[in-house]
C-alpha cells in the first residue's frame, strides 16, 4: 500500500479543489469499504485521500409526496435498509439494501460509494496487469469467467457489482454532480461508462467532480417493485445475477415499468426492447414466461457463464409473477 495524505474538507468546493487532477493525485474516501481494499491490493495508489464525511448535508434522506426521494451520497446502506419511508414507497431499494454485503459493511458503506465502487473481477483485483489497470489483456476473456458479463462487454468483460444501482436504475433515478463551475443532473443510466467507450473507468465523474445527490421520482400510485439477487452463499456475496423490477398494473396487464439487471453487464443493464414490451404484458404465467424468453437476446456468454442467461430470465419471470401475486 502506498503512503497518502489524508484530508478532511468541510465543503464541496474545497473537496473538489483537493481532488485535483484525478485519481493519481487524489481520491474520495467515504465509507472506505471498497477504497481500503483497493489501496491494500495496490489497485489504486492516490497521493491523497479526501474524506468527504465532514461535509454537512450529504447524508440526508428526504421524501416528499409527489416529488419523490432525495438521497445524499453519504447515506449508508443500513440507513436505506432501515428507513420506513423507503420500505413503504420503494420496496425495491430497501430489498436491494437487505441483501447487500454484510451488516458490518452496510453500517459503513455509503450509497455514493456503492455506485462508484470498482469491479470485483479477480484479475482486476488480483496480481494481473489487466486491461482496466493499463495492461494489454482482459484475462477473463480466455480465463475464468464464470462471474463475468454476458452482454455489453468487450474489450473488458467485468460486471458492475452494485446492487443499489440496479434498483435505482429500475426506478429511473437521476444523479446530481457537483462541479466547480456548475451543478448538473444526469439520468443514472448515463452515469455509467461501458468498456467500449473507456475501459479504464466505470463512471463519468471527471477530476474534481463529486456526486452530490441521487433523486428518485415519486412512485406512481399502485407501483409494484422488488429486487431478487442470486448469490451462491446466503450472505456476503456479490450478485451472480440480480434483477430489479418496477411496474404498475391495471387488471391483469402491466401498464408500464422497467426491469434492470446486475451481474450481466459491465454497467447496470436494461434491456430496452423488453422494457418496451412490458407495457401491456399480461400477468399470466404463460405470457410472462414467453416474454422472458427473449430477454437479453443479444447476450454473448463467455466460456463459463452461459448459465447466467437462463438465470436472468428465470429470475425475472418469477419476480414479475411474484410481485403480481400470480402463483408460480
Amino acid at each position: 500500500m502506498n503512503h497518502f495524505e489524508y484530508l478532511q474538507p468541510t465543503d464541496l468546493a474545497e473537496a473538489s479543489r483537493l481532488l485535483g487532477d484525478g485519481p493519481d493525485e487524489a481520491m474520495i474516501f467515504a465509507g472506505g469499504t471498497d477504497m481500503l481494499s483497493l489501496l491494500k491490493d495496490d489497485v489504486v495508489a492516490p497521493r491523497k485521500l479526501i474524506n468527504i464525511k465532514g461535509i454537512p448535508g450529504l447524508d440526508d434522506i428526504r421524501y416528499t409526496p409527489g416529488n419523490g426521494l432525495v438521497l445524499g451520497p453519504l447515506v449508508t446502506i443500513r440507513a436505506i435498509k432501515e428507513n420506513p419511508t423507503i420500505r413503504e414507497h420503494y420496496p425495491v431499494l430497501a430489498e436491494a439494501a437487505d441483501v447487500l454485503a454484510s451488516p458490518q459493511l452496510r453500517n459503513l458503506g455509503t450509497l455514493g460509494g456503492n455506485l462508484c465502487q470498482r469491479p470485483r473481477c479477480w484479475y482486476f483485483r488480483g496480481d494481473f496487469d489487466c486491461l482496466r489497470k493499463g495492461g494489454a489483456t482482459c484475462y477473463a476473456l480466455e480465463g475464468r469467467n464464470k462471474y463475468h458479463c454476458i452482454i455489453g462487454g468487450h474489450p473488458c468483460v467485468i460486471v458492475h457489482p452494485s446492487d443499489m444501482a440496479v434498483a435505482l436504475l429500475a426506478l429511473d433515478a437521476k444523479v446530481t454532480i457537483y462541479t466547480p463551475e456548475e451543478t448538473r443532473q444526469i439520468p443514472l443510466n448515463e452515469f455509467f461508462v461501458r468498456p467500449a467507450e473507456d475501459y479504464e473507468r466505470e463512471h463519468v465523474l471527471k477530476p474534481g467532480e463529486i456526486m452530490s445527490r441521487i433523486e428518485v421520482p415519486a412512485p406512481p400510485s399502485g407501483m409494484l417493485s422488488g429486487y431478487r439477487k442470486f448469490m451462491e452463499r446466503a450472505v456476503w456475496d456479490f450478485a451472480v445475477v440480480s434483477v430489479a423490477a418496477v411496474f404498475t398494473r391495471s387488471g391483469d396487464r402491466i401498464t408500464g415499468g422497467r426491469v434492470s439487471f446486475g451481474g450481466v453487464a459491465p454497467v447496470p443493464w436494461q434491456d430496452e426492447a423488453f422494457n418496451r414490451k412490458l407495457s401491456g404484458l399480461r400477468l399470466t404465467k404463460r405470457s410472462v414466461t414467453d416474454a422472458c424468453k427473449t430477454l437479453l437476446s443479444g447476450a454473448e456468454p463467455l466460456s463459463e457463464n452461459a448459465f447466467k442467461l437462463p438465470l436472468a430470465r428465470n429470475l425475472t419471470g418469477s419476480l414479475l409473477l411474484e410481485l403480481a401475486g400470480v402463483p408460480l
Partner: protein
C-alpha cells in the same frame, strides 16, 4: 449441556465439557500470533517468487539495495537446499529451474517491512521457458519431459485382495463409474509465518505450525546438521487443517538461513495472496471403478484406479495416495479387489496434507459409486450399503482384521430414522416443480493414527514432568491449532492421576523441552499421544511422591496384534478405525441451480469423546468444511497460476450457509485408546461431500460425478438432460405444480 467446569474431579465423566484453556485469550484478542511477535533488531523478509510454471532462470537482477538490506537465495544455504520430507526433491529456494508459479526464488530481507516488499517487487528474474505440465491430462499425455523421475510419477502402488480376474469371469453384472474432485484450499484464518532468532551457537525458530519436529529436522538440514543447536517453538496457531504440516518446514528453513546470514532475527509472514497461491492444497483426484456383482447383486469384485495431482513437488503425496487407496473400497466387504494408484507431477502449486489426507476424495467416489449401484438395481442405498458394510471379524481391503465392534448399522439406522431417510428417499425421486428435494447418505471410516508403518517409524515419545509443587507438566510435541489438544490432553492426564485439571500444565511445544511425540496430524493426537499420556500418568500415580520432582517418559509401539507389510500393503493399515454416517437433505431451485442444505444429520463413532463440546466443535467444523468442499470451494489453476487468489474469490460457507446440524456420537471404546478414545479430527469432514452430492443427484435427477456441485453445473446438467430427453420430468422453467420458496 452442563455449564463449563474448570476442574475435572475424579469420578466425573471425562466427556463433561470444560472451559478451553486457550479460549479466553483468543476471544479477548490477547493471544499473540506469529505476526504479533516482534523482537529487538528484527528484520523482515519478503519472498520473490517464480512467475513461470516451468523455466530455467537465466538472470536475477536486483535493484540497488540500501544499507541493511540483503537477499537470501539457494547459494546462501549452508546445509542442503532440500526440505526434509519423505522424499528429497523440494528445495527451499529454486536454483536454476523453477517448477511452479509462486515457487520461492529468493528472500529480500531488511529492517522495514514496506521497503523490503518494495525492493522485492523490483527484483527482475529472467527466464527461459521450458515445456510445462499444466494438468493431469498433460501429465497423462506425457508430451513434456518428466518433472520427477523417469515416469513423472511421485508414487505408484497397487494391491490385491482375493482373485479379481476370477471375479470378473464369475460376475453377472459389471458397473463402471468415474469421479473427479479439484483442489481445496485450507483457508486457515492465520496465514503462515515464522520468526528465526539466532543466538550464539543456537537458532530458535518460532512459528505457526503443526509439527515442531518436522520443522526442526528441516531447519537442521538447511543450516547444516550439527552446526547449530536448533530449537523450534510453536506459537499460537490460528487454524491449520493439515496446511501447516508440511509448508512451515520450508518457511522455517528459509528464515533460519536468513537469520544466520544477517546475525539478526528474521520474520517471514505470508500475506493471504501468497499463502493461497504458494502453499500446499488438497490433491485433485480422478477415481474410476469397475465393479462386479454376483447373481444376488452383491459386491463380488472391484477394480479401482486412483489418480492424484501432486503438483510440482512430492511432499507428502505418497502417503496421501496410500490413505486414498486404503479408503478406495470404503467401509465395504469386497472379496476380490484390486486398487491401483498414482500421484503425477504437474507444474502447479504442490499438493499436500489437508484434513482427511486422501480419504475425502476416495470416500466421495466410493460412496457415490455404491449409491449408483443401488439405484441401478432399484434398491434402497441404505439397505444396500449396510448389506455390504464391514463387521467385526471381517477383513479390511488390505486383509487386516476388523477387531473392534462396528456400530455402523445401528448408527445408520437410527440416523436414517431421525432424518426420515427411507420415506424421503422414495418420495423425492419423483419430485415435481421448481424446488426439488433430495436426500443423501454416506458411510465412512477414518483410520486413526499414521498410515501403514508410520507410527512404528516415528515412535512417538512423550514425557510427564511432576514438579516439586505437585503440578504436572505435559511435555509433548502435539500442537493446539484450534482442534482442542490443550483441552483434551490435560483432561486425560488429570483423570488418570485423579488430580484437578488446574494442576496440569501444557504449554505450546518447545523442542528444547518436549520429546518428539510425532506430528499433530492423522487423527493421532488423542488416541496415540493421549494414550501414551494416560499410561505415563497411571505410572506416575503408582509412584507418586508428593513434593518430589518426577519424570516419566513413554514411547509408542503398536499393540502386539497389529501387523503390517509395507511392501505388499497387507495387514492392519491402521491400528483402529473411527466410523461415521452422514445424512444430508437438500432443496435445489431448478430455476437457478441453487442448492439449499436443509439439514445434516451425523453420527460418529470416535470410541469415547474426551470432551463433548470439543467433539461438537470438530463435528460442526468438519461438516462446515466438508460442505464447502461439496458445494462452494473451487480453486482453479490455469496455465499454472492459481486463479482465486483472495478470500473473496474463494468461497467458503458463512454462518448463514450452515444448515441445522444434528450430530452425536456413539460410545464404542477402543481398548488401546485413552479412556477408549479413537480419532475424531478428520472423520467429520470425510463423509459430507458424498452425502451432499447424492442428495443433489436425487433432487435434479442427473448424475453428479464431481465436486463442488455448483449452480452453473446444475443448470448445465439439467439443460443437457432436457435436450437429450424432451419429455423429461424436469420442467423447463417452472411447472404447474411448482411452489414458491416461502411454502417450503
Amino acid at each position: 449441556m452442563k455449564p463449563p467446569e474448570h476442574t475435572a474431579t475424579p469420578g466425573n465423566d471425562i466427556a463433561d465439557p470444560v472451559a478451553r484453556p486457550d479460549a479466553a485469550a483468543k476471544c479477548a484478542g490477547t493471544a499473540r500470533y506469529l505476526a504479533d511477535l516482534a523482537v529487538p533488531g528484527m528484520l523482515h523478509a519478503r519472498t520473490v517468487r517464480s512467475t513461470r510454471p516451468r523455466a530455467r532462470i537465466t538472470s536475477r537482477r536486483l535493484p540497488p539495495l540500501p544499507a541493511g538490506f540483503f537477499v537470501v537465495e539457494a547459494r546462501d544455504i549452508p546445509g542442503r537446499n532440500r526440505i526434509r520430507m519423505l522424499d528429497d526433491d523440494w528445495p527451499f529456494f529454486a536454483e536454476d529451474i523453477v517448477n511452479h508459479i509462486g515457487e520461492p526464488i529468493l528472500l529480500v530481507v531488511g529492517p522495514e517491512a514496506e521497503a523490503t516488499a518494495m525492493i522485492a517487487s523490483r527484483v527482475i528474474i529472467e527466464y527461459e521457458d521450458l515445456p510445462p505440465i499444466l494438468s493431469l491430462d498433460d501429465a497423462l499425455a506425457g508430451l513434456a519431459p518428466p518433472l520427477y523421475g523417469e515416469d513423472n510419477c511421485f508414487a505408484e502402488y497397487s494391491f490385491h485382495k482375493g482373485d479379481l480376474p476370477q471375479a470378473r469371469r464369475a460376475a453377472r453384472q459389471m458397473v463402471k463409474d468415474g469421479f473427479s474432485t479439484g483442489f481445496q484450499e485450507h483457508l486457515y484464518l492465520e496465514p503462515q509465518g515464522v520468526l528465526a532468532v539466532p543466538e550464539a551457537g543456537r537458532l530458535t525458530v518460532y512459528g505457526s505450525m503443526q509439527c515442531p519436529y518436522y520443522v526442526k529436522k528441516a531447519v537442521e538440514q538447511a543450516v547444516g546438521e550439527g552446526r547449530h543447536h536448533v530449537r523450534i517453538v510453536q506459537t499460537v496457531t490460528g487454524g491449520a487443517f493439515g496446511g501447516k504440516e508440511d509448508y512451515p518446514s520450508l518457511l522455517a528453513g528459509q528464515a533460519a538461513v536468513a537469520a544466520l546470514k544477517s546475525g539478526r532475527p528474521v520474520r517471514l509472514v505470508l500475506d493471504r495472496t501468497e499463502d493461497i497461491a504458494a502453499t500446499t492444497k488438497r490433491h485433485p483426484s480422478r477415481i474410476d471403478f469397475t465393479t462386479f456383482l454376483d447373481e444376488n447383486d452383491d459386491l463380488l469384485g472391484m477394480d479401482v484406479d486412483i489418480l492424484l495431482d501432486g503438483g510440482a513437488y512430492s511432499g507428502l503425496s505418497s502417503v496421501v495416495l496410500q490413505r486414498a487407496m486404503f479408503a478406495a473400497s470404503g467401509v465395504y466387504r469386497v472379496p476380490h479387489l484390486h486398487v491401483h494408484g498414482r500421484v503425477l507431477a504437474t507444474n502447479q502449486v504442490p499438493a499436500g496434507a489437508f484434513r482427511g489426507f486422501g480419504a475425502p476424495q476416495a470416500f466421495f467416489a466410493i460412496e457415490m459409486h455404491l449409491e449408483n449401484i443401488a439405484l441401478r438395481l432399484g434398491l434402497d442405498p441404505l439397505e444396500y450399503k449396510l448389506r455390504h458394510a464391514l463387521r467385526r471379524g471381517d477383513r479390511t481391503c488390505t486383509d487386516g482384521l476388523v477387531r473392534g465392534a462396528v456400530r455402523l448399522p445401528e448408527m445408520a439406522t437410527r440416523l436414517c430414522e431421525a432424518a426420515g431417510y427411507p420415506a424421503k428417499q422414495a418420495a423425492y425421486t419423483a419430485g415435481q416443480g421448481r424446488y426439488r428435494r433430495g436426500i443423501g447418505l454416506s458411510l465412512c471410516y477414518h483410520g486413526c493414527g499414521f498410515t501403514g508403518q508410520g507410527e512404528e517409524l516415528i515412535q512417538g515419545t512423550i514425557a510427564l514432568h511432576k514438579r516439586a509443587d505437585d503440578a504436572v507438566e505435559i511435555r509433548v510435541a502435539a500442537t493446539e491449532m484450534g482442534q482442542g489438544a490443550q483441552t483434551v490432553l490435560p483432561k486425560i492426564v488429570a483423570h488418570s492421576l485423579g488430580i484437578p485439571l488446574d494442576q496440569i500444565h501444557y504449554e505450546n511445544p518447545d523442542t528444547d523441552i518436549v520429546p518428539d511425540s510425532g506430528p499433530t496430524v492423522a487423527s493421532r493426537t488423542t488416541m496415540i499421544v493421549g494414550g501414551l499420556l494416560r499410561e505415563a500418568a497411571l505410572d506416575l500415580k503408582r509412584h507418586w511422591q508428593s513434593g518430589r520432582v518426577m519424570d516419566i517418559r513413554r514411547t509408542y509401539h503398536h499393540p502386539p496384534h497389529i501387523h503390517w507389510d509395507q511392501e505388499h500393503f497387507r495387514g492392519d493399515a491402521y491400528p483402529e478405525y473411527a466410523w461415521g454416517v452422514n445424512v444430508v437433505e437438500v432443496e435445489v431451485d431448478l430455476l437457478t441451480g441453487l442448492v439449499r442444505v436443509i439439514k445434516i444429520w451425523a453420527q460418529f463413532d470416535v470410541g469415547a469423546p474426551m470432551d463433548e463440546r470439543t467433539l461438537r466443535g470438530q463435528m460442526e467444523g468438519g461438516i462446515a468444511q466438508g460442505l464447502g468442499y461439496a458445494l462452494w470451494e473451487k480453486l482453479e489453476v490455469d496455465d499454472g497460476r492459481v486463479q482465486q487468489q483472495r478470500i473473496r474469490d474463494y468461497t467458503i460457507p458463512t454462518f448463514m450457509d450452515m444448515p441445522p446440524v444434528e450430530s452425536g456420537s456413539v460410545y464404542n471404546p477402543y481398548e488401546f485408546g485413552p479412556f477408549g478414545a479413537k480419532g475424531a479430527g478428520e472423520l467429520t469432514l470425510v463423509g459430507v461431500a458424498p452425502a451432499v452430492a447424492a442428495a443433489v443427484q436425487q433432487a435434479i435427477g442427473c448424475p453428479v460425478d464431481m465436486i463442488p456441485v455448483t449452480p452453473e453445473m446444475i443448470l448445465r446438467r439439467i439443460r443437457n438432460r432436457k435436450h437429450a430427453k424432451p419429455d423429461s420430468e424436469i420442467p423447463p422453467e417452472s411447472s404447474p405444480r411448482s411452489r414458491s420458496r416461502a411454502d417450503t
